[in-house]
Amino acid sequence: MSPCIEDLRARIRLLERASYRPGGVLPFGVATIDAHLPGGGLARGSLHDIAGGGADEVHAAAAALFAAGLLARMEGVALWTTTAPDLFAPGLACAGLPPERLLYASAPDEKTVLLVMEEALRHAGLCAVVGEVAKLSMVASRRLVLAAEKSGVMALVVRRRREGKPADATLTAAATRWRITPLPSAALPSPGIGRARWQVELIRCRGGEPAHWIMEACDAQGRLSLPPDMANRQGAQGRHAA
């Protein structure tokens, strides 16, 4: 990309209020992903939408782990709000998110989840707010974005699928939209199970293009990494036709 175009883009970004992001970005620490995201990482005062690839609970678990990995790489306390209290704190600790850094709010219904998220996003004392919902409307997502922009707190929506329902593909105001699908992991030299592997898809990205990568799942510090057997191959990164 020529420096001239880069400069123009920066100016347009300044003009657009929507791209005003207090708090900077959270880089993944993986060059291929960070280079693809505007600003070099996930914008903090903004909304990000994370879904599992399939229609069952296994994929929702992968999405939750992806979100936990993001929280693990931030500093400070986060709030996680959900209607079904099935989060297992030791499992989140395995992704680098210790129990003392997470507050839980269990809500009676999804409407309340969104209300709690909005309220919590106004408090700059948190590093991020995670909410689990099945449906997110344009209006609801815009409210979250506005609250997040004001405080600079990152908003994450983890999609829960209701049994047998098709994926919710409504357009939202989220800055990025991710889909996490488990993939078969690489064989170990000995019997046993290695690091999990995910297909990480960036389905929508404001100010960027969709892409997908095959990544090794969160390690004990919440970091993703390129699979060692693919690190040098071009095939690790593909692009959708936009």
Partner: protein, 484 residues
């Protein structure tokens, strides 16, 4: 007087020339003694009686203390209802206890623990609750909306808070139950017994409002605002609440106190009182914070034809000395979290916002404990190197699995009618039962496996038992968690 299991205990009082029993304990009641009986007659029936002088003044004081406890513990609208009852208006409070029935369970449980024999009823009207608490069939009754009529019908007329003469008169005319009274033409009844009997009936059914005059605990910091014209709009209410909070915080500051609970009482022109209560995790006298907690709750107040006075009480206070607020970022963040926790706790209920602490237990479902959100961090943590899923099923889901005994991972398993063929697996991780908790777990063991199927989906399975000895478990397989 020390109660004695074998010796019936009576309370007696002078009534005219006679001494009358005013209260009997369970032993005495079993021997056929009852309140209203002459003491001389009782002594003739049962020779060895323990008789104490009734002390109505002390009784009233004790009842008032009990109402005060309810006021502090349960609801801002409580009042003693002599001789033996306490009124509680729990509108808008029950969700903080997890529902109507569990609130009554909690209150009766605490009172029973304190050695008080208690019956409780919750009903849409004070009169109905009064009747059901004293004459209902069970110790705890919750009357749903619209069921008042049906519930009152079988109760005796005495349940309507009538004086003895009226009850006797009604009985003489053949009115045994409230139902019979409901079905009778009203005019002759009121001519014969006066308006009171019918008013009590109407109050119990909710046709006539019956406000509870709430008691106020002496010595608590409070501010009151009376309005020359009744107010009703949400804006006016909000403005009045802000003024009250500011004034109360000033009072608290002068007394060196911080409030961790505020009760707002709105007196309506029709005499009814509406109340709401907010709580904070840490004592505070920050007017802005308290106003912020108070304002969203104001919409639960029904102003009716208007509110003529508002009363704000700090019902729970602790010493809060003038503090020098540190400018360190850490402290600022802590304060901010307390604000957020308060806002959410007042909106969702206290038990819905929590943190999780590690519990040293190998059994996964016991490894966590919910604690208040601002509790100090415990030192214990979970062992790092063991794989744990981010989502846990509690209770574990039963699955059908095919595996080699004794300690091989399953080859495949079926969950939600879908077969998963296992490609890779890790395990077993053996977890033993905690025999010091329950004897059932004396020999129990579980073998945990982390498995990955051909699609790359990862599951956390366990087998009940160690695979060799049937006393350790029945070899059934369970899905306990999902790794994604």
């Amino acid at each position: 007087m020390q109660p004695d299991a074998d010796r019936p205990l009576l309370l007696a009082a002078r009534q005219g020339p006679r001494r009358i029993i005013t209260a009997v304990d369970a032993t005495g009641a079993a021997l056929g003694l009852y309140a209203g009986m002459a003491v001389a007659q009782a002594q003739a029936q049962v020779p060895d009686l323990a008789i104490a002088e009734a002390d109505p003044v002390a009784d009233a004081a004790a009842l008032s203390r009990l109402a005060g406890w309810c006021l502090r513990r349960a609801t801002p609208l409580a009042a003693p209802n002599p001789p033996d009852g306490v009124w509680l208006d729990v509108t808008g409070c029950t969700h903080l206890f997890g529902g109507d029935a569990s609130m009554l369970d909690f209150l009766t449980g605490r009172l029973t623990d304190a050695g008080i024999a208690v019956r409780a009823a919750m009903a849409p009207t004070p009169g109905g609750a009064h009747a059901l608490a004293r004459y209902g069939t069970s110790k705890i009754t919750v009357a749903p909306d619209g069921a008042m009529r049906a519930l009152l019908e079988p109760l005796p007329v005495a349940a309507l808070r009538l004086d003895d003469g009226t009850v006797q008169g009604l009985r003489r005319l053949g009115f045994e139950t409230i139902g019979a009274l409901m079905r009778t033409p009203r005019a002759p009844l009121s001519r014969r017994f006066g308006a009171t009997a019918l008013r009590r009936l109407d109050q119990a059914l909710g046709h006539v409002p019956e406000p509870i005059e709430p008691m106020a605990l002496p010595g608590l910091p409070r501010t009151r605002l009376g309005f020359p014209e009744p107010i009703a709009t949400p804006e006016d209410l909000a403005r009045a609440a802000t003024l009250l909070t500011d004034a109360l915080c000033e009072k608290l500051r002068r007394r060196g106190l911080g409030a961790s609970r505020l009760d707002l009482l709105c007196q309506r022109v029709d005499g009814a009182a509406q109340a709401l209560r907010i709580g904070t995790a840490a004592a505070t006298r920050d007017a802005a914070h308290l106003t912020r907690l108070l304002l969203p709750q104001l919409q639960t107040i029904d102003p009716g034809f208007g509110i003529e006075a508002m009363l704000l009480t700090a019902s729970l206070t602790t010493r809060l000395d003038a503090a020098q607020f540190s400018s360190l970022a850490d402290t600022a963040q802590q304060t901010d979290l307390a604000t957020l926790v308060d806002v959410l706790a007042n909106r969702l209920g206290e038990e819905r916002i929590y943190a999780v602490h590690a519990v040293p237990s190998d059994i996964p479902e016991r490894a966590c404990r919910r604690v208040p959100p601002l509790a100090r961090t415990a030192a214990t943590s979970w062992p790092d190197r063991l794989p744990r899923p981010p989502r846990l099923f509690d209770p574990p889901r039963r699955v059908e699995a095919v595996s080699l005994l004794p300690d091989h991972p399953p080859v495949s398993f079926t969950w939600q009618r879908r077969a998963h063929r296992i490609r890779r697996a890790d395990g077993p991780e053996r977890v033993f039962g905690e025999w010091w908790k329950t004897p059932n777990e004396m020999f129990a063991a579980r073998d945990y496996f982390q498995v990955e199927d051909y699609n790359g989906q990862r599951f956390w399975l366990f087998r009940q038992g160690n695979g060799e000895d049937a006393s350790t478990g029945n070899m059934q397989w369970f899905l306990h968690g999902l790794f994604g």
